[in-house]
Symmetry: C2
Subunit: 405 residues, 2 copies
């Protein structure tokens, strides 16, 4: 047609570019490839029959409500049930809190960020850290400050130094984004003393905290104790984000944000202009799934299935990657983070895919441009058990071919 | 807790305020009141049994896909079916177009606006016009220019004058938002010559057009002929927004945007950070509902049901409002727009609700502050047939009490 649309695009849409990795991975769809790339749940834990029956029943018996528009913050009955569910899992959602149901936890993050972050506002987060959070905060032109991580997650001493420095420089301190339990991509869980330290820092320097928590419901080792930051918070500084994607099914596209009422009220207003409300039908289905104990059953299946898969991947790494790479030992979640000496894992992806194995290049999880080129995120959640070793072997061979001798 | 959260809020969230009307109408929930306020579909047209069966089947037979994450632009099979559906309804979606499935058409509008509109960009739209579009463009700090309407919808001669003036003043002309068929709140449909004129203006002054079209699928009078602006567009200037909320059910929360590929590609990138994708399950259900002809059946039921309700409301207005008010005769959609001489309909709402009848004060549909205080939007879509006359009578009495004698 000949129109050059560039002049029509807003600055946020000029900021966003199609990810080359995503495009490359799209090419693998439907091909015979062992993919450690996406963070998809294993569909074997989807409670298909139960959800089929619930869906039928909800539409037939409560269709007038379940098929209708619903309130922006979510279906009342569902929000109450979800609040009880969270409290039963040790997430304190109290009288001074409010809760908004969202279109996946991606939307919870988006709404919270949009309600809070102004271009130039300083946001602290883990490096490496959650890819989608990095992209979002960058799109909103936040002043994004990377905080180093170790085996115990975010290094809060380093955080305090970074906060101090930012304050000295007169930057507008706004919030800390943290994924403290079964971190994506690091697989780490912050001990409670760090969580308390984080809250102290937030209090001292007047920051809010976004606790992004998709994975805490099925940590693999019950001896690992932690308390949700939301629960430790005595001042009303924490927004707690969660999702049904990992504890039920992703296809309902339901997440939530819970936190201090005045902040969540703003999030509700933002949601009203963004999508008015999330799928009513999904909410009625999730409501029944909690009530009938199906969510709890999925959680317990998830725990043993993903633990088994993690163990298989760790074993395969021991066999094929020793001396080639180092890697994290995740205490929960879907991911292992790999460090390879002297190999550009972004460049290597094309060759790996040609050989038949895919992953996400780790530099996507770094805020600082150029960092993490020698890293990769491997997901064990979706891949078949009997393909894990084969995939790791192929990846190891691809790396070995590429390594400087 | 004592935290003053105000300093944490972004400028967009400070811009958004809870609507007092919405708060007042919330109070009426569950009360015995005749409400002409919301634009809800009548649940009697919800195909409950069919959707219950589809939902069960889709989850049971295709659960691995229907309960899983899905691509950002939508489930491939569903997008193809939707494209065919649109073409069958006279909406030209061609090879140079792309289509993204959204979380209701509110999200379609939000994503399009976010991808295109920078603060200060000039956006033209009908006055009175669609409330949610006004709120959104204001929140994005667009330079929103009201275009007058008459019985044939947007007055394109007036539009051209406004565009010329804005160009002379050096403003950044960006787009025209228009709801051309069965307009909300005016009930008008633009004739094709105006639609062509609109496209000429867009071409001449290099503007894009957002054609927001929730109601065209069931206009009441088949003798009223119109062509979708998207279909008349030869240059790739039109983004076409639609929704399943009125032609199937709102509870699936599905809408779409179709338009020139380069623009829709940007919308897809924005959607990726906003909510990643819309409910997969909803998409599989809607897919089957189109395939099995259920959407077409709902459309034909909608047409006769809402026509009957419109007629009942017009009759009641003739009986009770003559000499008190003037009103539109909608050719489709859910709404009648009322003008009352010398009565502030926003102030009157409280009294009306006390008496037992609710509506939306019409000034909410005006861009210019202070305009439209003597107007109201009356919805006939949800209210029971046997309550329409009673409600109009109560409203008429409330107005008469208030009128200057």
């Amino acid at each position: 047609m000949g129109i050059d649309y560039t002049r029509f695009f807003s600055s946020i849409s000029l900021e966003l570019r199609a990810s080359d990795v995503r495009e490359l991975l799209k090419l693998t769809e439907g091909k015979k490839i062992i993919s450690f790339a996406g963070g998809l749940p294993d569909p074997r834990i989807f409670p298909k029959n139960e959800l089929a029956e619930i869906a039928r029943q909800v539409v037939e018996e409560r269709g007038e409500q379940a098929l209708q528009y619903s309130p922006t913050p979510g279906v009342g009955e569902f929000r109450e049930e979800l609040g009880r569910f969270l409290n039963s899992k040790g997430v304190k959602v109290g009288d001074e809190d409010a809760l908004v149901v969202t279109t996946g936890s991606q939307e919870a993050l988006y709404l919270a960020a949009l309600a809070l972050v102004e271009p130039g506002d300083t946001v602290f987060m883990e490096e490496p850290g959650y890819l989608a959070a990095i992209n979002l905060f960058k799109a909103l032109k936040a002043d994004l400050v990377p905080v180093p991580v170790d085996d115990d997650g975010m290094d809060t001493d380093a955080l305090e130094e970074k906060v101090k420095a930012a304050k000295r420089e007169g930057r507008r301190l706004k919030l800390v984004y943290v994924n403290p339990t079964s971190n994506n991509p690091n697989g780490t869980t912050m001990p409670d003393d760090r969580r308390k330290h984080l809250l102290e820092i937030a209090s001292k320097y007047d920051l809010l905290i976004i606790e992004d928590d998709p994975y805490s419901y099925f940590t693999f080792d019950d001896s690992i104790k932690f308390t949700h930051i939301k629960t430790l918070d005595g001042e009303g500084r924490v927004l707690y984000l969660g999702t049904f994607s990992k504890i039920l099914v992703p296809g309902l596209r339901l997440g939530w944000v819970a936190g201090p009422e005045p902040v969540v009220a703003k999030i509700e207003l933002v949601k009203q202009v963004v999508d008015l409300h999330s799928s009513t039908l999904s909410q009625y289905i999730a409501l029944e799934a909690i009530r009938r104990g199906i969510v709890d059953r999925v959680i317990s299946m998830a725990k043993s299935l993903y633990r088994r898969k993690r163990d298989l991947m760790l074993e395969a790494l021991e066999i094929h990657m020793k001396g080639v790479a180092s890697w994290t030992k995740p205490v929960g979640g879907f991911f292992i983070f790999l460090k390879v000496k002297g190999v550009d894992m972004r460049r290597l992806l094309f060759k790996a895919v040609e050989r038949g194995v895919a992953y996400v290049p780790g530099d996507a999880f770094y805020i600082t441009p150029g960092r993490g080129r020698n890293t990769a995120r491997l997901s064990y959640s979706f891949v078949r058990e009997d393909e894990i070793e084969e995939g790791i072997k192929m990846l190891s061979e691809t790396i070995k071919e590429e390594r400087p001798h």
